[in-house]
C-alpha cells in the first residue's frame, strides 16, 4: 500500500481507535486510507509512549488499519522492540517469583504480564515496561530483602522502618540491567489503597505458565478491581491501556457481577470502579451495555468519595494524599505511626528528597491546613 490520507486528523481520537482495536462494539473506526506522514508520526509516538504497539500491529496485520509500506515497517520495528522488552521482563519475573517462592514468600503477578496472558487473545497485544508483584504485608520486608540480595536497588527509601509493610502502596526497584520491578502491598496509595481488605486478595488465585513455570496471579474479579484502581488512581490523567484492560476484562471474561460488587463494597471502592468503567466505555466508544457498565453510568458519587477521588487529581500533593490516608487508617495507633513517620522521617528519606525536617513539617502542615480549610 503506498497511498496516503491527505487530510488532517485527530491524533487523540486515532490513539483511542488503536486502544479500542479488537473490542467488540467499539464505534471508533480506523481510517479508510493510510494516514499522512505527519499524522502517522504523531500517532506512532502516542502508540509507543502508551505501550500500544501490539494493538496497532494487530490492527495492521488484520488489514483493519491501512498503512503505507514505510508505516508498516516502523510499526513492526517498534512492536518488536516492545516485545523484546516484554520477554526480558518475563524472564526477570520468573526468576524473581522463583526466588520469592524459595524463600517462602507468597506472590501474585499483577497487571501487564498477567493481563497479557489471561485477558488478551494474544499476549503480544499487551506489552508492558516493568513487572508488578503483589506480596502480603507481613512478607513485604522479606520480599525487599530478597530483591536486594539479588542485586536490585531500591529506588526510594521508606520514611521509617516498617512504614512500607504497614502503610505504603509498595516500593520500586531497579535491576542492575536497568529494568524495573514494582513491589506492591496494595493497589494504590491514599485512602482507596488503605481500605482494600488485603488478606482477602490471598484467598484465591489463577495461574498461567511462563517458561514452564506456573505463575500465580489474582482471580478475574480482583484483576478487574486492580485494573480500575490503576486506571483511575494510577496517574492524574487516565492512560489508554489501563482503560483497555478494564474493557478487555469486562467484554471477554466471565466476571461474576455479584462477587465484583462484594469486592467493591468491602474495599469501599465503588466510586473508583464506576469511574473507571465509565471512562473506559466513553474513551473507547463502546456501544455494548453490560450489567457493570449500566451500573457505572447510573452510579452517583457521594461527597466523601468525590473528595477522596479529588485527592488523586492534578495539583494535589503527597501531603494531601497522606492526610486523606490517615482518615482511612482504622486504628488510632496506626494513624499515629503513619503521621509520625511522615512528619519525622529518617535522614536517608529526606536526603533523597533534598529536604530538611523543619522544612518538611512546615510544608506538610501548610498543605494539610489548606486542605482542611477547603482552599
Amino acid at each position: 500500500m503506498t497511498g496516503a490520507h491527505p487530510s488532517g486528523g485527530d491524533s487523540t481520537r486515532l490513539a483511542r481507535t488503536v486502544a479500542a482495536y479488537g473490542l467488540i462494539g467499539s464505534l471508533l473506526d480506523p481510517p479508510e486510507v493510510p494516514l499522512g506522514e505527519r499524522e502517522f508520526v504523531r500517532l506512532h509516538a502516542a502508540v509507543r509512549s502508551q505501550r500500544m504497539t501490539g494493538l496497532l500491529w494487530a490492527a495492521i496485520t488484520d488489514d483493519a488499519f491501512p498503512v503505507t509500506t514505510s508505516q508498516r515497517d516502523r510499526a513492526l520495528e517498534s512492536h518488536l522492540q516492545a516485545l523484546a522488552v516484554a520477554l526480558v521482563l518475563e524472564r526477570l519475573l520468573v526468576e524473581t517469583v522463583g526466588a520469592f517462592e524459595a524463600a517462602g514468600i507468597p506472590v501474585r503477578a499483577l497487571k501487564g504480564t498477567a493481563s497479557a496472558h489471561l485477558d488478551y487473545p494474544d499476549p503480544g497485544m499487551r506489552t508492558f515496561g516493568d513487572i508488578d508483584l503483589l506480596v502480603p504485608s507481613e512478607a513485604f520486608d522479606d520480599a525487599v530483602a530478597s530483591l536486594t540480595r539479588a542485586g536490585n536497588q531500591r529506588r526510594f527509601p521508606q520514611p521509617r522502618p516498617g512504614f512500607d509493610r504497614r502503610f505504603s502502596k509498595g516500593s520500586s526497584f531497579r535491576t542492575p540491567d536497568g529494568l524495573e520491578i514494582d513491589l506492591h502491598r496494595t493497589f494504590a496509595m491514599g485512602p482507596f489503597g488503605a481500605r482494600i481488605p488485603l488478606r482477602e486478595l490471598w484467598a484465591r488465585s489463577e495461574t498461567y505458565v511462563l517458561a514452564g513455570t506456573p505463575v500465580h496471579c489474582l482471580p478475574v474479579e480482583e484483576r478487574l478491581l486492580h485494573a480500575t484502581y490503576h486506571a483511575v488512581l494510577g496517574g492524574t490523567t487516565p492512560r489508554l491501556v489501563p482503560l483497555r484492560d478494564v474493557a478487555q476484562i469486562l467484554l471477554t471474561q466471565a466476571v461474576d457481577v455479584g462477587r465484583m460488587h462484594r469486592l467493591m463494597s468491602a474495599s469501599r471502592g465503588d466510586a473508583v470502579v464506576a469511574r473507571a468503567i465509565r471512562l473506559a466505555w466513553h474513551e473507547l466508544c463502546l456501544a455494548d451495555v453490560l450489567a457493570l457498565s449500566a451500573w457505572s453510568e447510573s452510579y452517583r458519587e457521594d461527597r466523601q468519595s468525590a473528595a477522596e477521588l479529588a485527592v488523586y487529581g492534578t495539583g494535589t500533593s503527597y501531603a494531601a494524599k497522606s492526610f486523606a490516608t490517615v482518615k482511612a487508617i482504622p486504628s488510632l495507633t496506626h494513624k499515629a505511626r503513619f503521621a509520625f513517620a511522615l512528619a519525622l522521617p529518617e535522614r536517608s528519606y529526606l536526603e533523597e528528597r533534598q529536604e530538611g525536617r523543619a522544612q518538611r513539617i512546615r510544608r506538610g502542615l501548610a498543605q494539610i491546613l489548606s486542605l482542611r480549610s477547603g482552599r
Binding site: T61, L83, G124
Partner: protein, 98 residues
Amino acid sequence: MTATDTRTPRYQRSDGVLWRDTGQYVLVLAPGDDGAVTLLGGGSAALWRLLGRRHSLPEIVAAFVDHQGTRPAEHEIADAVADLTARGLLRVEGARGR
C-alpha cells in the same frame, strides 16, 4: 511413523523458552541467554509454530507440504532444527543415546 517408533528423534519447543509471535516474526528468549532475544523469520518462524507439538523430521516435511504447499528438502529442515536445538529452543525426545 508408529507409536512404537521411539528411537526416531522428535522435536518440540522447549518449555523454558519465552516467546511471542507477530505473525511475521517470532521472538524467542531461551533459558540462559544473556538478554539475547532471537528473531525467527520465514521458515524458522513456521517451524517454531509447527513445533508446538512433537514432530519428527519426516513429519515436519509433511506438515510443510500440508500447510504451505511446498516440500522443503529434509536436510534444510534438519539444519534448521539443529540450529534451534543448539540454541536451547527445542527439546528432543527419542534420540539415540539420550
